[in-house]
């Protein structure tokens, strides 16, 4: 039975397979949006997608926690509020990388652990996720964070092994997808396994960036007063870009928006950023993280902390790639560790 959890999908058949996925929902896949940028967008056909992409600027968290969403509307005169029913249509995320899959797994822990967030819950259940393997660029360090491999959090995972994909089944929903399209998939042969080994060794050998994770938490704790924070705090623009592009960042703000009639309005949950000055500000004017140095230190410490043995950073390299001040996340930690001066 176990061999049924691995199948081969010829690249010729992927288009056909994606047509059948339409019955599971609207398909979103990485689309090239500019010379160096990709984005998960709705596609009619996988021909519009670029499955060999490195990273999208905004991670797939946007499908589960919306950048801005109304929690409820209210009417002051009636003294009532009306919860928004999650009516999100089912969707298929095609081509999610292991780093992002791991990030989504960790997000689910936060949103479903002690207080189940119904929006998150319904969206995850409404979503079919197809993962895909990738080749690291100079900013990727997911091998260091142990997130270059996705154990779960997807329906199917496609390993690129040349002219075909080795398909891994990650859920019962995924298994049913295979069953429903059995004519498109073939059994795994010895040759396929050899091709998989070659592809994996090649992928693992192509990492150039390494973040030493051993004892990182202690190192961050001991370096609380290090001058390194000052150095990078001065460079930091406190713009919050790193938070927006981080697949693990999920700070949010809650705001009330009043309509012009001063009677009705809505309460909105929005992505927020720990790098912004108001993040630690309390009523009365005291700010627990008033300087960019303190905020940068807080962010790096948060990323370096562990949640059930999983680091809060999945090594996707987005914060470094998109930082307008060109601050390199790994470089900060290498300096703290004394690996570089």
């Amino acid at each position: 039975m176990t061999e049924q959890l691995y199948k081969i999908l010829s690249k010729e058949n992927i288009e056909q397979f994606s047509y059948s996925l339409r019955s599971s929902g609207k398909i979103y896949a990485p689309v090239k949006t500019s010379k160096e940028s990709h984005s998960f967008k709705h596609v009619e056909s996988l021909k519009e997608a670029d499955l060999g992409y490195t990273r999208t600027m905004i991670p797939p968290k946007k499908f589960f926690i919306s950048p801005s969403e109304t929690i409820f509307t209210f009417n002051k005169e009636n003294e009532e509020y009306y919860e928004i029913q999650a009516t999100d249509e089912p969707l298929v995320l095609f081509g999610v990388h292991p780093c992002d899959l791991n990030a989504l797994n960790l997000l689910a822990k936060v949103y479903l652990e002690s207080f189940t967030d119904k929006y998150y819950n319904e969206r995850r259940e409404n979503t079919t996720i197809i993962g895909i393997s990738c080749t690291p660029d100079e900013h990727c360090f997911c091998k260091s964070t142990g997130t270059d491999y996705a154990k779960d959090g997807f329906e199917l995972f496609l390993h690129d092994i040349g002219d075909r994909y080795l398909v891994r089944v990650g859920s019962l929903k995924g298994y049913k997808l295979l069953e429903g399209n059995s004519s498109l998939f073939t059994d795994v042969t010895e040759e396929d396994i050899e091709l998989y080994k070659i592809a994996e060794n090649e992928r693992l050998g192509s990492f150039t960036k390494n973040l030493e994770m051993s004892g990182l938490q202690e190192m961050l704790d001991l370096n609380y007063d290090s001058p390194v924070w000052e150095e990078y705090g001065e460079k930091c623009l406190s713009c919050g870009s790193c938070n927006l592009v981080c697949p693990r960042c999920r700070c949010y703000d809650v705001q009330d928006h009043m309509d012009l009639n001063l009677n009705t309005g809505e309460r909105v949950r929005k992505w927020y950023s720990c790098m912004l000055q108001e993040h630690g500000l309390v009523a009365g004017g005291h700010n627990f993280r008033a300087t960019s140095k303190e905020r940068l230190r807080n962010r790096i410490n948060c990323k370096g902390s562990l949640k059930e043995d999983m680091p809060n950073c999945v090594g996707c390299g987005r914060c470094t790639t998109y930082c307008p001040a060109e601050i390199d996340y790994v470089e900060i930690i290498q300096k703290l560790r004394g690996e570089i001066q």
């Binding site: 929690i71 003294e79 207080f115 961050l220 809650v254 720990c274 309390v282 807080n298 902390s305």
Partner: protein, 294 residues
Amino acid sequence: MKENNPLSPMKARITEIHKMTDIEKLITLRFQDPKDEENFSYMPGQFVKLGVMGVGEAPISICTAKSDEPGLELCIRNAGRVTNAVHRQNVGDTIWVRGPYGNGFPMEEVEGKDLLLVAGGLGIAPIRGVLQYALQHRERFGEISFLYGVRCYDLMLYKDEILDYFRNGEEIGVKLYLSYEDKEDEVCYGLECEQDDRCTQGMVTKLFSLLDQRKKNSVALIGGPPIMYKFTVMELEKMGFKPEEVYMTLERRMRCGVGQCGHCIVGTGKSIKYVCKDGPVFTLWDAMNTKGMI
């Protein structure tokens, strides 16, 4: 709390408003749904999110101990956008509440011990809840010493209660000590003349010199502005309090109350904590292990 969404509030109506100072009001409210009223249980040190539709929500310490009396009492300082809107509400107005959140003071754990309560300014709100709890279960606790620091008489909260403890507290085993910062404050000076072994001009830490020698079996429970903790802890350490014998409630920006929104995060990679969920009450041992906590 509503089942579906941790951010959905319960409807309440304001039944009483007492002006305590120029900037603080004591507001009593009742939940409108009898089920909410019945289910709303809490420990001193827990907090609620108090909301005005169209303005937003603010975290507010619960300042009482749960009793048979229905309703909830909150001490609100007019300090920001939301609390300003709360101050503009009238008796009969609707107000929205989520919670209670946080761990609260571990009152059962400290049973059988003497209590040293230290409060500065608005920090008296959660500490008053602790005192009420101890008095409700008087036989479970030893001697209670209560140090309260105010800027001046006009800003003293729960004046009637405080003065009653100050003058008659010993009848119920409560020794109240009072400090005031304003040297020109005539009323407080009058109190100092009344009982100079219980009242002094200066910061709350000055009151430690008036305390009897510490008995071994005691714990300290603290609430106050951020600056107060470091200095109070120094005094407590001098008295011989161990890190696990000091409890303090911390203030942070807390948007969600359920450990999701990230604003109240504190600590390093080794010790990250969410004040709203892991606290707001922490021991000194927690603080020693969590850089940036106090």
